[in-house]
């Protein structure tokens, strides 16, 4: 089974096959044999390199949460062929004038209207989450070409709020 995960915008390719009561795992080209000792979600224990590795695991959509030895990692599962395209599309939105929510929360105010001319750094919207207010500002000079949210609406992190089109571009 081929698997692709991304972690901090880096993708990692794995290949897993069952070999008797063990698993053969190839991580980024390196082979390893591991033996599962127990799997009682959220607890997982496996034998690797003569040592028992214990983890707590949970999944949420494509996200895989893994807690090991005092630290938690979040991996994002991706389909082998689309992995690269996906990570790039979402993160590099700012260059194209797409303005995303840097945190989840409520839209407290939309400060511009479609068609408005704005300058770089000008506040476009006010988000509020957990008693904290955050101004979301224009990435560059331009025209507000599209507003996707309204006041009072809840948004997820990285949800698109507005688009600011560069003049003449």
């Amino acid at each position: 089974m081929k698997l692709v995960y991304s972690h901090n915008a880096q993708t990692h390719t794995l290949d897993v096959t069952r070999a008797g009561d063990e698993f053969e795992i190839t991580v980024n080209g390196e082979h390893a044999r591991v033996q599962v000792i127990s799997f009682a979600p959220p607890r997982l224990a496996f034998l690797y390199n003569g040592k028992i590795v214990t983890a707590r695991v949970a999944s949420d959509g494509q996200k895989r949460w893994i807690h090991m030895d005092g630290a938690t990692l979040v991996l994002e599962r991706a389909e082998p062929n689309t992995a690269r395209a996906q990570t790039h599309g979402a993160r590099e939105g700012t260059g194209s004038g797409i303005v995303i929510a840097p945190m989840p929360g409520q839209v407290r105010a939309v400060l511009v209207q479609e068609g408005d001319a704005v300058t770089a750094g000008q506040p476009l919207a006010l988000l509020e989450a957990m008693k904290m207010e955050l101004k979301v500002s224009a990435p560059h000079d331009g025209i507000v070409s599209k507003i996707y949210v309204t006041q009072g609406q809840s948004v997820e992190r990285e949800q698109i709020l507005t688009e600011v089109t560069k003049r003449g571009g």
């Binding site: 089974m1 995960y5 901090n8 069952r18 127990s38 959220p42 983890a55 949970a58 991996l75 840097p102």
Partner: protein, 520 residues
């Protein structure tokens, strides 16, 4: 004693107060918003009343609805917790007017300490040290003159303010008027009151506060200090007691000043006097009084052995503190308890925030929660597996408290507790907390309120071995769950089947009980 108490709050503090009530054999009423229908505090309470929509203004800040809920449930007292309406004098007055006991100070004390200009005047009159400052007039010329006399850097604070809002540091005279106007605008926006006061800005300060207990009979004592210098954006993150900075002489001086400050407003119930301490001169200045139970109260409970939430209730019901001349004991009338600091305690606040995203709030569903369970560690939690962490409320999820014989031992214990702590589904600051505890400046006990800011870059690296093993774990789960799916019918015999355990896996929306949460 009260028969039934309504807790006008949510999250960990509501749960903590309900437990105190249960131990005193008092019934509890929870109030909840739409978002909190299934929240832990509603399940721990004996009964729960819906009070409105999710935004705090429509529920936890709605005075009328909370008082209606108290009337409807026949509660004879209301505990406000911290935040929300805890320091709202109108609320305290409305509770009293409804014939219900407000567990906290009088509306007069709340007002007297809530206004920074009046509080400063009162402190000066009671000879409590305040930073050089100015609160006598509000016109530009007087303020500008005063700023020059105080000497830059100067702090402009909203008179009606608190929590770091509308607060500005001015470094030189040329910027003063511009900053003054900005502070006035912010103060007007945030508090509906544009008045400001000035204070000398102590740039390398330590934040050290004293816990106060005062009964209805004029007995006022302090329960020593807590140091809370580890802050970001005026939000405390790690607290400890005793403070590594204080010696016996300074502790006594500050403790006496704290008692005098509380007496100056006829304070009653639990409260906290916050001071700024200049570590070089060892001068200390009154900062403000929090007229409520503090988030970080557990470290005082660990080192003194007193239950502050219970004392709040006992004082409100008319119990008397017995105070010796050295003010070293409290008692219920039957059994005196002498008060001293035993060992060292630390608190780490686990916040729903993402250190890799500028510490901005994070949300999500709690997929798994494992609280540390070891000697000397306490976890005050307001959440359970399955709970949704929304953007409506405070990001504080869990308070981890470690108590040991010495500061070093408490630090080691806290590290151990943080390693065992596991929360999946919502990004938290747990690894950042580990990094702060491990920092040489913090370990040496030298951190000032600007410490986190001065370090600046707290970005955390994932070790290669950890990433590799996490990838393996993810892949194994994928394989094992696939297997479970393919043998669904015969699932009962599968040693890997999630149905064989009663961990975080639950069926049909059934929520885990409190016991499962603690053990599981």
């Amino acid at each position: 004693m009260f028969k039934k108490i309504l807790i006008a709050n949510r999250g960990e503090i509501a749960v903590r107060i309900m437990r105190a009530c249960r131990e005193l054999n008092i019934a509890t009423v929870a109030v909840y918003s739409d978002a909190d229908r299934a929240a832990l505090h509603t399940r721990v309470a004996d009964e729960a009343t819906h009070i409105g929509a999710s935004p705090p203004r429509e529920s936890y800040l709605n005075i009328e609805k909370i008082i209606d809920a108290a009337r409807a449930t026949n509660a004879d007292a209301i505990h406000p917790g911290y935040g929300f309406l805890a320091e709202n004098a109108e609320f305290a007055q409305a509770v009293n007017d409804a014939g219900v006991v407000f567990i906290g100070p009088s509306p007069f004390s709340i007002r007297a300490m809530g206004d920074k200009a009046h509080a400063r005047e009162r402190m000066i009159a009671s000879r409590v040290p305040v930073a050089p400052g100015f609160q006598d007039a509000d016109d530009d010329a007087s303020l500008e003159n005063a700023a020059r006399e105080i000497g830059y850097p100067v702090l402009i604070k909203a008179a009606a303010g608190g929590g770091g809002k509308a607060m500005r540091v001015v470094n030189d005279a040329r910027a003063f008027l511009e900053e003054l106007n900005a502070a006035r605008r912010e103060a007007l926006n945030a508090f509906g009151d544009a008045r400001v006061i000035l204070e000398k800005y102590v740039s390398n300060a330590r934040h050290i506060e004293f816990q106060i207990l005062a009964d209805k009979f004029g007995n006022t004592i302090h329960l020593f200090e807590r140091e809370c210098s580890i802050q970001r954006r005026h939000q405390k993150i790690i607290e400890e007691t005793p403070s590594p900075l204080l010696d016996e002489a300074l502790r006594e001086k500050m403790g006496n000043a704290a008692v005098a400050a509380a007496r100056a407003v006829n304070y009653e119930n639990a409260g906290t006097i916050e001071f700024i301490v200049d570590p070089d001169t060892r001068d200390f200045y009154f900062l403000e009084m929090n007229t409520r139970l503090q988030v970080e109260h557990p470290i005082t409970e660990m080192t003194t052995g007193l239950d502050l939430a219970q004392w709040q209730i006992r004082i409100a019901s008319g119990e008397k503190l017995s105070v010796s001349s050295e003010q070293s004991s409290v008692s219920s009338l039957q059994s005196p308890v002498s008060i001293y600091q035993r060992g060292h305690a630390l608190e780490c606040r686990v916040y729903a925030e993402d250190p890799s995203n500028n510490f901005l709030p994070s949300t999500g569903r709690v997929l798994d929660l494992q609280l540390p369970n070891m000697p000397g560690v306490r976890a005050d939690s307001g959440i359970a597996t399955g709970d949704e962490i929304s953007a409506f409320y405070d990001p504080l999820l869990v308070k981890l408290v470690a108590h040991a014989e010495t500061r070093d031992a408490a630090l080691a214990k806290m590290h151990s507790a943080l390693r065992e702590f596991c929360l999946l589904g919502v990004t938290t600051n747990v690894e950042f907390l580990q990094a702060v505890l491990a920092h040489p400046t913090f370990r040496a006990g030298d951190a000032t309120t600007r410490f986190l800011e001065e370090i600046g870059d707290w970005s955390l690296e994932t070790e290669d071995w950890r990433l590799e093993q996490a990838l393996m774990a993810a892949a194994l789960v994928e394989m094992l769950e696939k297997k479970v799916a393919s043998v669904e019918v015969a699932g009962e015999n599968d040693p890997y089947s999630p149905w064989r355990t009663n961990g975080a896996f639950h069926v049909g929306g059934e929520l885990p009980t409190d016991d499962e949460r603690i053990n599981g």
